[in-house]
C-alpha cells in the first residue's frame, strides 16, 4: 500500500504532467487556429531565392522552392491535429461498441461482429487505409476516414478480450442475480473496468493516427502539394537529405513533439483516472 505522502506525490506528478503536456497541446491548438498571425511568411508563396539553410531570417531554413519551413510547419499543425482527432473518434466509438456488445451478448452477435472485425483485421494498419484510399483516391479527408476505419478492429478486439475477462469475475454474476439490467452492468460495471486499457490504446492511437496519416501523405496518398502537411514536407526533403537535412528534419521533429505531447498527456490522464493508482 502507498503511504499518504506517496499518494500525494503521484497526484502531484500526474497533475504536473497533465499541465505541461496539456500546455504544449494548447499551444499547438492555438497555432493551428491562428496560424496566419504566428507564421512569419506565407507557407505557399514561392521565393526566387531557393533553398537556404537555417539563418536569422528563416530559423528553420527554406525548402527547394524558397518557402519558409517554420511558416509551413505552423500552418501544418491543423492538418495533423485534425487527422488525429477525427480518425480516433471514428475508431473509438465504433470499435469499443462492437467489442463490448460482442463479448457481452456472445453467441450469434459475437460471431457476426467478430467475423466482420476479423475481416477488417486481416488488413494490417496502413494497408486497410490504403485499400480505402485506393477506392476513394488520395486526399486529406479520405485519409482521416481511412485511418479511422483502420483502427476500429483494435478497439473492438481489446474491448472484447477485456470484457471476457471481467465477465468471469464473480461480482458481475452477483449484480445479475440482484436484478441488474444489461445496460447497467455494461455501463456501470464493465466499462469502468475496461476503460484503462482502452484509454491507453486511444492515447496511443491519437498519436498513431497522426503518424499513419502523415505516413500516407509521405507516400503521396494524403495531402497534395503545395499543402504544408508535415508528412508531405518530410517527403519533399527526402531527396536532399545529404545536402539539405533541415527540409525533412524539422517537420519530423514537429510530428515527434506533437505525438509525444499527446501520448504523455493521455498517460497523465490515465494515471489520474486509473482505479488501481487511486487505491
Amino acid at each position: 500500500m502507498l503511504s499518504y505522502r506517496n499518494k500525494r506525490l503521484i497526484r502531484k506528478f500526474t497533475r504536473k504532467r497533465i499541465i505541461i503536456y496539456g500546455s504544449v497541446l494548447a499551444v499547438l491548438v492555438v497555432l493551428s487556429l491562428f496560424a496566419p498571425y504566428f507564421a512569419p511568411y506565407d507557407p505557399i508563396q514561392i521565393s526566387m531565392e531557393g533553398r537556404k539553410s537555417p539563418n536569422l531570417d528563416h530559423i528553420f531554413g527554406t525548402d527547394r522552392l524558397g518557402r519558409d519551413i517554420l511558416s509551413r510547419i505552423i500552418y501544418g499543425t491543423k492538418y495533423s491535429l485534425s487527422i488525429g482527432i477525427m480518425s480516433v473518434s471514428i475508431g473509438l466509438i465504433f470499435g469499443t461498441t462492437m467489442g463490448v456488445l460482442s463479448a457481452y451478448y456472445g453467441g450469434l452477435v459475437d460471431t457476426i461482429i467478430m467475423r466482420f472485425i476479423d475481416a477488417l483485421l486481416a488488413f494490417p494498419g496502413i494497408l486497410l487505409a490504403l485499400v480505402v484510399i485506393a477506392v476513394l483516391g488520395p486526399g486529406l479527408f479520405n485519409v482521416m476516414l481511412a485511418v479511422g476505419i483502420s483502427t476500429v478492429p483494435e478497439y473492438a478486439r481489446l474491448a472484447r478480450g477485456k470484457v471476457l475477462s471481467v465477465m468471469q469475475l464473480e461480482y458481475i454474476e452477483a449484480i445479475h442475480s440482484i436484478g441488474g439490467s444489461n445496460i447497467r452492468v455494461i455501463l456501470k460495471h464493465i466499462l469502468p473496468n475496461i476503460s484503462a486499457p482502452i484509454t491507453i490504446l486511444a492515447t496511443l492511437q491519437v498519436g498513431n493516427a497522426i503518424l499513419v496519416g502523415s505516413g500516407l501523405s509521405f507516400l503521396g496518398m494524403g495531402a497534395q502539394p503545395p499543402t504544408p502537411e508535415w508528412g508531405l514536407m518530410t517527403a519533399e526533403g527526402r531527396s536532399f537529405m545529404s545536402q539539405a537535412w533541415w527540409i525533412s528534419t524539422f517537420p519530423g521533429i514537429a510530428i515527434l513533439i506533437t505525438v509525444i505531447s499527446i501520448n504523455q498527456f493521455g498517460d497523465g490522464l490515465r494515471e489520474a483516472i486509473d482505479p488501481y493508482l487511486k487505491e
Binding site: 486481416a122 475477462s165 517527403a235
Partner: protein, 310 residues
Amino acid sequence: MINYTIKRIFEVIPVLLIVSLIVFSVMHLLPGDPTLLMLAGAEGGSIPQERLDELRIIMGLNKPLYEQYYNFISNAISGDLGTSIRLRTPVTEILLQKFPYTIKLSLLGLMIAIFLGVVIGLVAALFKDTWLDHFSMTFSLIGVSMPIYWLGLLLILFFSINLNIFPSSGATGWKSIVLPALTLGFVSAGVISRLLRSSLLEVLNEDYIRTAKGKGLTDKIILIKHALKNAMIPVITILGLQFGNMLAGAVVTETVFSRPGLGRLVVNGILWKDYPLVQGTVLFIACIYVFVNLFVDISYYWFDPRIKLK
C-alpha cells in the same frame, strides 16, 4: 483446447470470404470506369473505345457481378490473381518474386521489436519509479511517437550518409536489411514495452501474487511463473497486430529505403491505378496475416484458460 483450435480454423473460412469480398469490391466501388482508369494510369493519353471494351472482356468485367466474384475466388484459389496492367506480368509471379524480401524484413523487424520491447518493459516494471524506469519509458515513448519514415531518413542520414556503414537503399547483401529492420523494430518495441510494463504492474497488484509471496516463493519464481505469464496476455494479443504492423510498416520502410517488396508493390499499384496488382497484393498480405492471427488467438487461449468462449 483441441476443439477450440479446430473451431478457430473453421472460422477462418468466412473471414477469408469477407476479405476477398472487400478486395473484390475495390474495383467496383471506384468512381468511374475501372478500365479507363487503369489504361489511363498505365498508358496515359486518350484511350480508344475498342481498347476499353477489349480489356473489359479480358478481365470479365462485362459479366454479372456474382459471376465475376465467383471467378475471382475460384481463380484466386487456383493461384491466378490476374495480370498486372502496367507490368504485363501475372500478379502471382510478381508476388512470389517480391515476397521473400518482405517476409525477411518483417521477421527480423519483429525479432528486434520483441527483444527490445520485453527487455525494456521488464526493466521498467521491475525498477518502477527509478531512473531506469524513466529512461526505459522515455525510450519507448520516443519509439511509439516517431514517424517511421522519418526514423528511416534519420538512420540513412547518420549511418549511410555520415558514417557510410550501411547502404541507404537496395536489397543486396545482409547490410542492406539492417537499417530497414531497425526502423521497423524500434517503433514496435515502444508499443510492446509500454504494454508489458503496464500489464506487469497490474498483475503484480493481484491477490494471487500476494498469496505467492505469502507462501514464501522467491521473487524470481513469482515473476516468471505467476506474473510474467499473465502479464504477457495483452502483449501476445498485440504481437499478431505487431506482425501485421511489420507487414504494413514495410509499405513505408520499403519506400524509404527503396527496397523491393510487397509494400512498395501496393503503393506503386495505387499510384499506377493498376487494380489487379493492388487487389492481388492486398489479398495475399491479408491471407498471411489471417493465418498469423489464427495462431495468435490459439496461443492467447492457451495462456489464459479463464477465457472460455461461449
